[in-house]
């Protein structure tokens, strides 16, 4: 049986992100005692909010140096927390903050680290993990004998922990941060304007626009402005998250006229993101394998395409509508 630590961080407002609560569920699911460690602004108060999670002890670092998500200070704080707990197995959420800093922390404490964990089990003290290789194409199950072992869990795999708050009596861990750890200063977060925010990780629906929206339509003309209006109207009405194929965002990089609100951030697939949404609909997109691998965690899939033999027809979608996406989406928007 490995001594386990759920290593978490707070957000700017001092609360724990959903992914941190999911990590608590994962830690509890192993059926062995665990500690909780939290770094970031308001860590001690955050520990109180999860006091009822079943942890044997709570450790925190809430030095002002870790108020910002900065690699050097986060790695130092995480390493101190791991060493203080004496944990052999460390579970942590795969947030951008920890994906950046925990590999460095692992190196500092002589640990091994694996990321993008999508399943976890412990039988007879042996811990087994699963993750995807080759960008969601091959699923591997594996273990490591080395300890400590850090595992970053993909978000959306475990249900968020829910339970009672209380007094956690967290032990504050002191960390000495040298000046060299502060060479980087976080200056802020750049958010798209509220009406331009098209990436919504918690949306129930993913809407993917393919390059077909920017091609000549059946009248021989481009209708890029109309395409943009239809897509934005749909996103607003359905509160969907916008994804894109690589070919569409590459058009923008090549300087051609395209959808102005689309960027590489929207790209789904082998060189883009692999979002988790209950439903997804692809439009004007051929469903080629490098794009479709980004749909690995989309449960219900539909597509609208003029080509009845496109990739979506080859067992990648539940339903393929062979139709003009301009016409279909205009009607859909009217009904919504």
């Amino acid at each position: 049986m490995s001594k386990t630590l759920a290593l978490l961080h707070t957000q700017a407002d001092g609360s724990l992100p959903k992914a941190a609560l999911e990590t608590l569920t994962a830690a509890a699911s192993l059926g062995q005692p665990f500690d909780v460690a939290i770094l970031g602004a308001g860590a001690s108060a955050a520990a109180d909010t999860v006091q009822g999670c079943g942890a044997a002890a709570f450790h925190t670092v809430d030095d002002p140096a870790v108020a910002q998500p900065r690699y050097a200070t986060d790695a130092a704080a995480a390493a101190a927390l791991i060493q203080t707990s004496g944990a052999e197995l460390v579970l942590a959420p795969g947030t951008s903050r920890f994906a950046r800093s925990l590999p460095g922390a692992a190196h500092r404490v002589g640990a091994q680290i694996d990321t993008h964990i999508v399943a976890l089990s412990a039988e007879g003290g042996a811990v087994r993990a699963q993750r995807w290789f080759y960008r969601q194409r091959i699923l591997g199950a594996f273990s490591r004998a080395a300890r400590p072992w850090l595992l970053l869990l993909d978000t959306g795999v475990f249900a968020p922990w829910q339970g009672a708050a209380g007094s956690a009596g967290a032990q504050a861990v002191s960390v000495a941060f040298p000046d060299d750890d502060r060479r980087t200063a976080v200056t802020g977060v750049q958010k798209p304007a509220a009406d331009a925010q098209t990436i919504r990780p918690d949306a129930k629906l993913l809407f993917v626009a393919g390059a077909g929206w920017t091609k000549k339509q059946k009248d021989g003309q481009f209708h890029i402005g109309e395409a943009g209006a239809l897509i934005l109207d749909f996103l607003g009405k359905a509160q969907a998250s916008l994804g894109s194929s690589k070919s569409l965002v590459d058009i923008q990089g090549d300087g051609q006229e395209t959808l102005t609100f689309m960027s590489h951030m929207n790209q789904v697939g082998q060189t883009g993101s692999t979002p988790r949404h209950p439903k997804g609909i692809a439009t004007c997109c051929h469903g080629e394998e490098p794009h479709a691998v980004g749909w690995r965690f989309i449960n219900e899939r539909r597509a609208v395409n003029l080509d009845p033999n496109c990739g979506w027809a080859q067992g990648k979608a539940d339903v393929l509508y062979v139709a003009d996406a301009f016409e279909v989406m205009a009607k859909v928007n009217a009904l919504l």
Binding site: A72, S96, S101, P103, R183, V186, G253, V322, L335
Partner: protein
């Protein structure tokens, strides 16, 4: 400032259009016909390379190195195209580029190779790489390289770097929800793991290719055998789970019918 020494870490991955099938080999998991699969430069590493070349152009006196761990013969093939893109000096390491290798061993090999570059000046060093590979997709290699080189500043999912005249720079890193974390750093040394950046793929330039190849061939000739393997990972299974769906193809329905069905599905 005398420009940067920009070291890009990047290797080959199977062409994304290829079908991948896992097999068991004496060295651990691998891909069926792995040596025969066409390869491309890992996409995120490629973005890092193009951004490095762009930065080197802006900061005079800069030089770009590409440190690449892969089977020597496949690296040679890859260089036929990559070398035509931007100017760089290749540092080749002869070993496996499999997605099943352990990132810890790969990072150690890369860090050793970077540290051994003649004339390396850490005060001018920027190490670039992809934020993850399209093969292992671990996203940990560059941080371990950073630690092994004793560098304190690391950035992940980078889409932009802006360098000031005094050598300090600002960085945009991708975070959740389509947002960017904006930071400033006092300057080199630093490690940047790139997302896509903002640059298109450069067109092939035969003159750049010829200049690069003069260094590429000697580098390949003296590529150090590097035993990158599965390391401490004990694989139990590697498989392609059945994904195929029974697709219902709706061909002859009217636009109204299709729209109605989609809206009902969305609202359910």
């Amino acid at each position: 400032m005398n420009g940067f020494q920009i070291v890009v870490c990047g290797s080959l991955v199977p062409d994304p259009l290829q079908t991948l099938e896992p097999v068991t080999t004496p060295q651990g998991p691998g891909l069926k016909n792995e040596t025969m699969l066409p390869s491309v430069l890992d996409p995120w590493s490629a973005h890092a390379l193009y951004e490095a070349a762009n930065l080197a152009k802006q900061a005079s006196g800069s030089k770009v190195y590409l440190v690449s761990l892969g089977p020597k013969a496949k690296l040679q093939q890859l260089m036929m195209t990559v070398a035509q893109k931007v100017p760089f000096e290749l540092v080749a390491l002869d070993g496996s580029a499999s997605g099943f290798t352990d990132a810890h061993g790969v990072a150690a090999a890369l860090a050793d190779a970077i540290a051994a570059i003649p004339g390396l000046d850490k005060s001018r060093l920027l190490v670039f790489g992809g934020c993850a590979s399209a093969s292992r997709d671990a996203g940990v290699t560059m941080q371990i390289v950073c630690e092994r080189l004793g560098i304190r500043d690391f950035f992940a999912g980078v889409d932009e770097i802006q360098v000031a005249e005094d050598g300090s720079f600002s960085v945009l890193e991708r975070i959740e929800g389509g947002e960017y974390l904006a930071s400033t750093c006092k300057g080199a040394p630093a490690v940047l793991a790139w997302a896509t950046g903002n640059l298109p793929e450069p067109p092939n330039n035969p003159q750049v290719g010829m200049a690069n190849m003069r260094g590429v061939m000697p580098s390949l000739m003296k590529a150090k055998p590097t035993p990158a393997g599965v390391g401490g990972i004990a694989y139990e299974t590697t498989e392609i789970p059945p994904q195929k769906r029974q697709t219902r193809i709706v061909k002859d329905a009217s636009t109204d019918e299709i729209a109605k069905e989609i809206v009902e599905w969305i609202n359910n």
